[in-house]
Symmetry: C2
Subunit: 396 residues, 2 copies
C-alpha cells in the first residue's frame, strides 16, 4: 500500500503512509476527544441545577457506569489519574521508605505517585511483546535480590520492604497479568494496575483493572474517555472501595452539620461537572473503541511489509483499546527516529517518541533498578502516531 | 425587627429572624452558586472546540482575570484550594519535619496541606475580632518559645524550624495582616495567606492575598466564585509564579515532543472546562459581592438589639466578602447552640457550627500548640447562617 517510490527515505515513507491512513487535514493531532453525544446535555444540566461541584448525581452515575463497563465491583472517581495512582498505592499498603516496583518505561505519574507516598520507585525492565513489565526478567531478578520475611518481601540489597508492584498497560496494551500476578503472590507483593491508558482493554476477556488489588484509570483530555481532567480507582474489594471514597473526600465523617475528619485525607473529589462529561463520554465508548480498532487495522495493513519498521500489534491473550498506536523502528534505523519525528510533525502529522525513561530523569536517576536494556532499546525505536477515534471512521 | 414575642425561645427567635431575612423557600442552603452569566457560552465553547483539558485559552484568561481582580501580579490556577495551599507552602520553603504555624480554627485543608509537605502543624489561637489568628497572643507566644538562628526561626521546645506562618481569612474576614506580617518579619518566618474564603475581601483597601509571599484561593462549589472544583496560587513574585506553574504541571520541560521532567512535580492543572466556568463567574463577582454585602447588612439590622447573640461584623480596616455570615452566641447561651442548629435545619434553613478545631481531631491532637482558649470558646458560640448571593437581592 506504500505509494512512495522505493527510493524515498524512511521519514518520507512514514509521512506518506500516515497521510494515506488518516486522510487530509492540516493538523492531525495524536489523540483528540469528540463530544458528539450527550456531553452538552449533561453539562448543561449541571449548570441549570447548580450542581457543579463535589456532590451531585453524575458522580454516582459515572461510578456505576464505570463499574458496569469494566466489570469491577467498585469505581471511585477522583480528580485525575495521578490522584488515583497515589491513593491506590496508599491503600495497597505502600508506606514511607519502602520500594515500589514500576516500569521505567512509563509516564511520569507512575513514579511521582510512588514519591507522594514517601516511597522509592524501583525500576523494572519491559518486554518487546507488551511494552509493559517483562515477567521473565522480573521473576529472575527478584529471585536474586529479594526474599520473603514474615509475609513481606524484602530487598536484600537495600534492606527495604518492596511494598507493591505496579505494572502499566502501555498505550492500552495489557501486560501479561497472569505471570505478574503469580510473581506478586510468590513474593508477597500486592499488585496495583496502572490502567491509566487501558480503559476498554481486555486481558483474556477480562477488563484490565480487575486483576490487581486496585487499579487506576485516567480521563485526561488525551484519553479514550475524557472528563477534562479526572481519574478513577477500581477495585473488587468493598472495604478498599469504602476506604478509597473516604480518603479521597477529606476523610470526613458523615454528620448533618459537624465537620469531623478521622485521618489525614485528600481533596481528590471529581467535580460533578466533570463527571457529567464522563457519563456522556462513556456512553459512546464502545463506538470509540471500535473506531480505534478499525484505525489500528488500517495502520497494520498500511505498514505491513514495509522495510525498516513494524506496526506494534496487541499482545497475545489481549484485546487492546489501541489508545496510542505506535511503530517500532528496526535497530539499524534508529538513527532516523528524529528525522521521522521532525518531518511528520512539520507536515501536520503529530508523532512523538516514548516518554523519557524514568531512570534517565534527574530526580529518579539514583533509584534502585534492574538491568533496563530492553526499555532502553525501545526508547530509541518507538514512535507514536495519530490515534484519534474519528480517524477510524473511514475503516469502520 | 424581631417579630417573635419576647417569650419565644432563642432557637425560635433565630429561626424566625433567618426566615424574615431570607424570605420564603423550602430549603435555603448555606451558600449556593448561580450561573446566570456567560457560564453556558464559555463551557459550550470548550465542548465545541474540543479544548476541555489541561491546555486551553480559558486557563490563561482566568489567570489574567484573577490577577487583575486581586491586583496580584500573578495567578496560577490549580485543581483545587488544597492543591494551592500545598504548593504555596512548598514554594515558601516548607520542608519535612519543620513546623508551620496555622490557626486551629480553620477548615481541614489548611492542616492537611502542611502534612502533605511532611511538616507539622503548630496550632495558634484566634481573635474574637477577626476569627483569624490573634497577633498579640502569637507575638507573646513566639517571644517565649522561639528564637532566630542563622536567619531561621527555631522552636526552642521542639528544636524544629518554624518554616511558615499561614493565617486563614475566616469566612472572608481578613486577619490583621499588618501585625502578622510584622511578626513574620521579626521572627524570619515567611507568611502564606490561606485566602480560600476571601476572594473579594480587602484589608486596608488592598485585596487579601497580596500580603504574604504567596496565597491560595479556592473555587469550590460553595465559594463566591466556583469552577466546580478549583483553586489558584497568588503571588507578586515572578520567579515564584514561574515555579508554581512548573511544579503544578508535572514539572515538564518545554519541548516540541520530548517528555522531560526536571523535578518531582504535581498534576495539579485546572482543566480548561473548569477555567471557562471560572471566567464567567469572575465577570459577575462584583455583582455577587454587592449582593452579599447587602445581605450582611440585612442580617446586621435584623439581629441588632437581640439578646443572647450578635451578628458578626467585618473587622476594622477590612472590607469583607462576607462569604459565610455568622452569629456569635453570648456565653450564657452556649447550651442552646445545638437546639438552634436543630430547629433551623429542620425548618429548611441551613446553619452549621464551626469546623471541629484542628487540635481536637485524632490525627492532629499531638501537634504542638499554644493556649487555644479563644478558639475553643468561639467553637462553642459561632453559627453560620444562609449566605447565598441571591438572598441579598431583596436588599440591593
Amino acid at each position: 500500500m506504500n505509494s512512495q517510490s522505493n527510493s524515498a527515505s524512511l521519514p518520507e515513507k512514514v509521512a506518506s503512509i500516515l497521510r494515506e491512513v488518516v486522510g487530509s487535514g492540516s493538523s492531525i493531532s495524536l489523540h483528540e476527544p469528540s463530544f458528539a453525544g450527550n456531553e452538552w446535555n449533561y453539562v448543561k444540566d449541571c449548570l441549570d441545577t447548580g450542581w457543579v461541584s463535589s456532590v451531585g448525581s453524575y458522580v454516582d452515575r459515572f461510578e456505576q457506569m464505570l463499574a458496569e463497563f469494566t466489570g469491577c465491583k467498585h469505581a471511585v472517581v477522583v480528580v485525575n489519574g495521578t490522584a488515583a495512582l497515589h491513593v491506590s498505592l496508599l491503600l495497597a499498603g505502600v508506606t514511607e521508605k519502602t520500594e515500589v516496583l514500576i516500569p521505567t518505561l512509563t509516564f511520569i505519574a507512575t513514579a511521582n505517585a510512588v514519591s507522594y507516598c514517601g516511597a522509592i520507585p524501583h525500576f523494572v525492565d519491559s518486554s518487546e511483546k507488551t511494552l509493559g513489565i517483562c515477567p521473565e526478567k522480573l521473576s529472575e531478578y527478584l529471585t536474586q535480590i529479594a526474599e520473603v520475611r514474615d509475609g513481606r518481601c524484602v530487598n536484600r540489597r537495600t534492606g527495604r520492604i518492596i511494598s507493591a508492584l505496579m505494572p502499566m498497560h502501555t498505550f492500552g496494551h495489557p501486560v501479561d497479568l497472569d505471570e505478574l500476578m503469580a510473581i506478586g503472590q510468590r513474593f508477597c507483593i500486592p499488585v496495583v494496575e496502572d490502567a491509566a491508558e487501558s480503559l476498554g482493554s481486555y486481558y483474556k476477556q477480562r477488563h484490565t483493572g480487575n486483576f490487581g488489588l486496585l487499579a487506576a484509570l485516567s480521563f485526561n483530555g488525551n484519553k479514550v474517555v475524557t472528563t477534562g481532567g479526572g481519574g478513577a480507582i477500581l477495585t473488587n474489594d468493598s472495604d478498599l472501595a469504602a476506604r478509597a471514597k473516604h480518603i479521597t473526600t477529606t476523610a470526613r465523617v458523615r454528620h448533618r452539620w459537624e465537620f469531623i475528619h478521622d485521618q489525614i485525607g485528600f481533596n481528590y473529589r471529581l467535580p460533578n461537572l466533570n463527571a457529567a462529561l464522563g457519563c456522556a463520554q462513556l456512553e459512546r465508548l464502545p463506538e470509540a473503541l471500535s473506531l480505534k480498532r478499525a484505525l489500528a487495522g488500517a495502520y497494520r495493513e498500511a505498514f505491513s511489509g514495509m522495510a525498516g519498521l513494524r506496526f506494534f500489534e496487541e499482545p497475545a491473550d489481549a484485546c487492546s483499546n489501541y489508545w496510542l498506536n505506535c511503530i517500532l523502528l528496526d535497530h539499524d534505523r534508529i538513527s532516523e527516529k528524529d528525522s521521522i519525528l521532525e518531518l511528520t510533525n512539520n507536515r501536520g502529522l503529530a508523532t512523538r517518541p516514548l516518554w523519557t525513561l524514568m531512570h534517565y530523569l534527574p530526580m529518579y536517576s539514583a533509584c534502585p533498578r534492574m538491568d533496563l536494556s530492553i526499555a532502553g532499546d525501545l526508547a530509541l525505536r518507538v514512535i507514536n502516531i495519530p490515534s484519534s477515534p474519528f480517524l477510524g471512521k473511514r475503516y469502520a
